[in-house]
Symmetry: C2
Subunit: 394 residues, 2 copies
Amino acid sequence: MRLSLIACVLLAVLWSQTCWAERAAGPAEPNDFKPASSNQPGRQYPQVDSEGRVRARIAAPEAHTVLLDIGAVKYPMTKDENGVWTGDSKPQDEGFHYYQLWIDGAAVPDPGSLYFYGAGRWGSGVEVPARDQDFYALKDVPHGQIREQLYFSKSNSTMRRCFVYTPPDYDKDTSRRYPVLYLQHGGGEDETGWPNQGKTNLIMDNLIAAGKAKPFIIVMDNGTWTRARPPRGGERGRGTWPPAGWADGFKKTLLEDIIPMIDANYRTLADRPHRAMAGLSMGGMQTRVITLASPETFSHVGLFSGGSISLDDVNDAPGFKENVKLVFVSYGSRELEDRRTGGRGAFGGDPKANTDALKEAGMNAHFYVSPDTAHEWQSWRRSLHKFAPRLFQD
Amino acid sequence: MRLSLIACVLLAVLWSQTCWAERAAGPAEPNDFKPASSNQPGRQYPQVDSEGRVRARIAAPEAHTVLLDIGAVKYPMTKDENGVWTGDSKPQDEGFHYYQLWIDGAAVPDPGSLYFYGAGRWGSGVEVPARDQDFYALKDVPHGQIREQLYFSKSNSTMRRCFVYTPPDYDKDTSRRYPVLYLQHGGGEDETGWPNQGKTNLIMDNLIAAGKAKPFIIVMDNGTWTRARPPRGGERGRGTWPPAGWADGFKKTLLEDIIPMIDANYRTLADRPHRAMAGLSMGGMQTRVITLASPETFSHVGLFSGGSISLDDVNDAPGFKENVKLVFVSYGSRELEDRRTGGRGAFGGDPKANTDALKEAGMNAHFYVSPDTAHEWQSWRRSLHKFAPRLFQD
């Protein structure tokens, strides 16, 4: 007790000194910028400091204005005597962020970063180190494969592409069959989102190596939903936009093309108990509509920052309650803190209340909140990491 | 005879009229620009016309100078009243070209194009339609897979990545085993070169569907050769640069890590008669050095724009003549027309004379010249297309 007291006093003194030191030095900037892990090989910029500031740098000797555009804010950059521009953002949340540079009015990718598809374009991304980044680190554990699968889609009369994660031992015992998760990206993204910025294979490899998830196949296809027409007055209100039928195109492609193709070409357990669907944002909205309409097809459902399923939804979907063994709903904490959604996140309904209601009705339902993240990939990496261990457990 | 004469006269008249019409209209520009097949989804620029001109466009309202940089030439672009810059290149050769934009002194990727790794960076690429592009077109034929393979390399004490092409029926009959081609990229490129801009899977899928090539596995790894030190005076002369031992790092990785890993994880025919190596440019130089040093390991050899193998080389490599069933050497025609190499292409020796000498000595040697292409990917796509049907035929 006496020791604890002394420790408390010491900590308080240390803390006050730290605060004083920070105040004396102006804004607390750790000045420990390091190249981002998402940089192109050998590139020194962009850099990130331990508080999540992003520092960009580019040579543009004849430019008049260069801006770093990240997190919906454009930060000014300044030119040195060699024509090299440098600028810092405010601290960003942990995890992955899309960004771009503006050079005299032109929006361009940063030549220092790797490129990712999001916001409807291939562009720059930057990794802010996260306290929990170990769960998607590349380690010397048995690794599955990401396979590029080309196939002809009858319902679209065209060739399509998806990526398929096969777990580490898939090619070892060719008599074994596996469950399948259909995992969808968000709006403005495509089938490369989960394999690239989602780090799906590393999350699964690490979970499987630790014995925390059963091995299963993951199919990542392109669910891009093209609006047939712009929304009209009144349709933007809750429940009227998107209009009925908006997910029909991808639903048809998934049920008539993708699932049969996967079951024909991979060693799947091709039945409802071994088939899951999940998605983020738009992909979560698609998952909601498609699984409610097809409870004979899916037994495990995940909505990541993409709405929730209410008891009314379940009561209106015959077979859903009996067949579906897991409903998993998640959001980033900042989405729930956003006043515009009244603590509910986007896409309608109160996700926690809805999920609690499913629990009370006897369903296996889980609600997860990713700490200190927004409508961004760190929320969705964490959601997959929490969702996967709950799949195919019965 | 009389008919032929009339036909000749008619053709001459038509030809002269065509020429006159072109001259009257100024420089012959077909004005049939279309979005490049290598654009990001939905992007209208860059565009390419039927004579191979590349037209770039970017909004940069405050910029003073914007340039299109392609084929080692910087073309000026001009601004319209909306701040949108447009500029055309001279006609480019058929096939794939790396390029970039300069905005007020900053070298950046074009936001309209897909991105490819080459010249030591992820940057823009553009496809100029080729008369023979059907051989790498995406068709409704059975497709193999490109698999991302992660593995631990003992000789480098690190995790590494390669891409593995498995042919269309690989997963159908799991008792069947396949030969393997180890296929290397060029300097400043990486393991993504052959799967992306190389279109390896489409070339193979189409050849196999047409019955023109045997199905085999292709392994595309990272052969990047880091110079231990810059070249010193005299070493740049023929035969002294690169210095002895420059390929040892990748040779050790290939023989001790990559090949055993592939043989352990894929259904290979794990012997010399069923193992080939080929590469482009630096990858061809590596292929030359490694196969000459390891004729017990490889039976089929391909050098694409990467030197050739002389009879002296063969005589200095015990076992090579007996074990190697194919030596394939290729260049783009413009490489051989380049005065700086005296009709020999880069990387030493006269490739045609060297290959003829191997033939005269009784070896199965082939020399291929890609028409009207330079040290670029169209030469290497065509080289793979000509090389693959000759592999594993005995």
